[in-house]
């Protein structure tokens, strides 16, 4: 029982952040670039989360989409699914939203350094993993081979078009993408994300892997990884759960004896694979 709690701080009181840029990425997702109102640098690790909110509506947990290697601002993507996210998506540049965080445990970056890295992202699973993707791209020398697999339902649901365009032609990342349902203009791969593994003959068994996407995706991707003899100890999953407080008190994110907001959202697969409710 360690007790590192700060008794003066109110863990439920957020801070204001100013929206510097708000751009609609798809019919449902808005991409925000933010800065703390008090001009302080927002310090976080790839994979951590924040509670983003608007008084009068509430707060929602979001994974940071930017990398701490980029200073001066941070980024979030809000998908319009409910009352709070709708209100947030209506905000424009110059408006204010509230931020609590960073919260939770992100990717253990030091374990990735000096290793091959594979990131598998499905749909909006690209948003939180982008924090790590950008981190690796910014400090490319520290990592060995870097592969990124991304799957979306349709070309209309592709996120971060500028990033995708860059990754497609960059020699720093081996980027593979697919869509489930193509349109007339789509010239790339078609099929679920696991079909991308057909193009990968070999993976170093020591490769560090990150998986984030819709719940259904995890089991299939993990089955693929087993074929390359990748240790479950080296697989990290980013779980989304309905968090409320984000600080380990409200019980909403509890999966058996783990709290997603405190012990995660990033979990080592070997630590949670036996938790029935996890994935």
């Amino acid at each position: 029982m360690s007790c590192s709690s700060n008794h003066d701080k109110n863990i439920f009181l957020p801070k204001n952040a100013i929206i510097r840029k708000a751009s609609q990425m798809t019919a449902f997702e808005t991409h925000f670039t933010l800065k703390m109102e008090d001009e302080s640098e927002f310090i976080y690790e790839p994979g951590q989360i924040v509670e983003a909110g608007l008084f009068g509506y509430g707060e929602i947990p979001l994974g940071l989409s930017s990398s701490p290697t980029q200073q001066g601002s941070f980024e979030l993507v809000v998908r319009e699914v409910g009352k709070v996210s709708k209100a947030l998506c209506a905000l424009k540049a110059g408006d204010t939203m509230t931020i609590r965080g960073p919260l939770g445990k992100g990717f253990p970056v030091s374990e990735f350094v000096g290793q091959d890295v594979l990131i598998v992202a499905g749909g909006i699973g690209l948003c939180p993993t982008r924090s790590m993707i950008r981190y690796i791209m910014d400090r490319r020398d520290e990592f060995k081979d870097f592969k990124l697999l991304f799957g979306a339902r349709s070309p209309d649901e592709l996120l971060f078009e500028d990033d995708l365009a860059y990754w497609r032609c960059s020699s720093d990342v081996n980027y593979l993408e697919t869509v489930d349902k193509p349109n007339d203009r789509w010239k790339g791969n078609i099929g679920v994300i696991t079909t991308l593994f057909e193009g990968i003959d070999h993976l170093d068994p020591a490769t560090r892997v990150i998986i984030c996407g819709p719940p259904i995706m995890y089991k299939f991707v993990i089955a693929q990884l087993a074929k390359y003899n990748i240790s479950e100890h080296h697989i990290f999953v980013d779980l989304e759960r309905r968090m409320k407080c984000g600080v380990g008190k409200c019980g909403h994110c509890q999966i058996n004896d783990k709290y997603v907001c405190m012990d995660g959202p990033v979990f080592r697969y070997s630590d949670i694979k036996d938790l029935e409710e996890a994935i």
């Binding site: 029982m1 360690s2 007790c3 590192s4 709690s5 700060n6 008794h7 701080k9 109110n10 863990i11 439920f12 009181l13 204001n16 008084f55 009068g56 509506y57 509430g58 707060e59 998908r79 699914v81 409910g82 204010t96 749909g123 909006i124 819709p214 719940p215 989304e240 759960r241 309905r242 409320k244 407080c245 600080v247 380990g248 008190k249 409200c250 019980g251 909403h252 509890q254 999966i255 058996n256 004896d257 405190m262 029935e276 409710e277």
Partner: protein, 340 residues
């Protein structure tokens, strides 16, 4: 620790003095049951209560508690703890409060809980009558009864009074406390031991044995069988002194720009509790009644043990007494699994 004697006749004066000093919350009768309410006069005090409908946690985390008020972009925390005395808390509820203290302290300090907690003086009292479903004598033995400031045990002609803290000391001038004999101290210890022994219901195994075996039954069909009649009403959570889950909501005053953010008790047995919004809709990670039922029992017997140093159940029996379907009793579930 200091020990005194307070005669039956002097109790009234003591309580009356306390009421004059600050609000006193104590067990009073409500129809056929009891509740912790603010005491208006000593005549209402019922130290012979069996258990209260809701546990005293409501004084630290009210069913609905304001967190922040906001108005046109400005916001402020709502903290206004008032000094109060919580009188007549049974030992099992004191244990539960010390668990709550830790839960709201570890990792992230919950200032709302602790400011109320700090402003409260807790006076415990022994169990004079047992609630029909109580089993506190056989559960959570690894946790000591602690964290309270004073404790009263009914003995012949009065009470043995233990003073444990400075807050307790501060109340000494309010009563006619006299010296105790060795015999009275021994009598009080016997009274409390008997209260444990005479619980109507009992667990047959240690917390550790239970923790391990229940976990082994994670995939058993016992959960489905046991929860068949569950209404998912969440009452078993609401009355539990060691349940503390909550939901946070914003409420508008007139327009969305002003109002308050509050939290209110929530219950993991209800269906909505485990809904997650995912891509394109929502998913429920404990959709089945049986999964939610299992979650509660596992939480009470195993999930939190490492954090708390013992199981998160103190054996008050409130859940089993409140459950309309009569299926929430931890004893019957635990003993059934242990006998397998």
């Amino acid at each position: 620790m200091k020990t005194f004697f307070l005669s039956d006749g002097d109790l009234d004066e003591f309580v009356t003095n306390l009421i004059a000093k600050s609000p006193v919350f104590a067990p009073v009768a409500k129809k056929t049951r009891f509740v912790f309410n603010q005491l208006e006069s000593v005549e209402d005090l019922r130290l012979d209560y069996d258990t209260t409908i809701l546990p005293p946690k409501k004084l630290f985390v009210p069913t609905k508690q304001d967190l922040v008020t906001f108005e046109h972009g400005k916001y402020e925390e709502c903290l206004a703890p008032g000094k109060k005395i919580l009188f007549g808390v049974h030992p099992y509820d004191i244990k539960a409060i010390s668990m709550m203290d830790w839960i709201h302290e570890e990792s992230n300090f919950d200032i709302y809980y602790h400011s109320n907690r700090k402003a409260t003086t807790i006076i415990g009292s022994n169990v004079q009558n047992h609630y029909k479903k109580a089993f506190f004598g056989s559960v959570c033995k690894e946790l000591k009864v602690m964290g309270h400031d004073m404790f009263l045990t009914k003995i012949a002609d009065g009470y043995l009074v233990e003073v444990l803290t400075k807050k307790g000391d501060d109340l000494l001038p309010d009563g006619n406390f006299t010296d105790v004999s060795k015999e009275q101290i021994k009598n009080a210890a016997d009274v409390n031991t008997k209260a444990d022994e005479n619980c109507p219901s009992k667990l047959k195994n240690t917390s550790l044995e239970i923790k391990h075996k229940i976990r082994m039954y994670y995939d058993s069909d016992v959960w489905k069988k046991k929860s068949e009649n569950c209404f998912s009403c969440g009452s078993c959570n609401i009355v539990c002194p060691t349940c503390y889950c909550f939901d946070i909501q914003d409420e508008w005053a007139l327009e969305p720009t002003s109002g308050k953010r509050y939290r209110r008790w929530d219950a993991c047995l209800t269906c909505e509790f485990s809904e997650v919004s995912v891509q394109g809709g929502s998913e429920n990670f404990r959709e089945e009644r049986a999964e939610r039922f299992r979650h509660r029992i596992m939480r009470k017997t195993s999930f939190l043990n490492d954090k708390l140093g013992g199981p998160a159940c103190v054996g008050c029996g409130r859940c089993s007494g409140t459950c309309t379907a009569d299926i929430a009793d931890p004893v019957s579930i635990i003993n059934e699994i242990m006998e397998k």
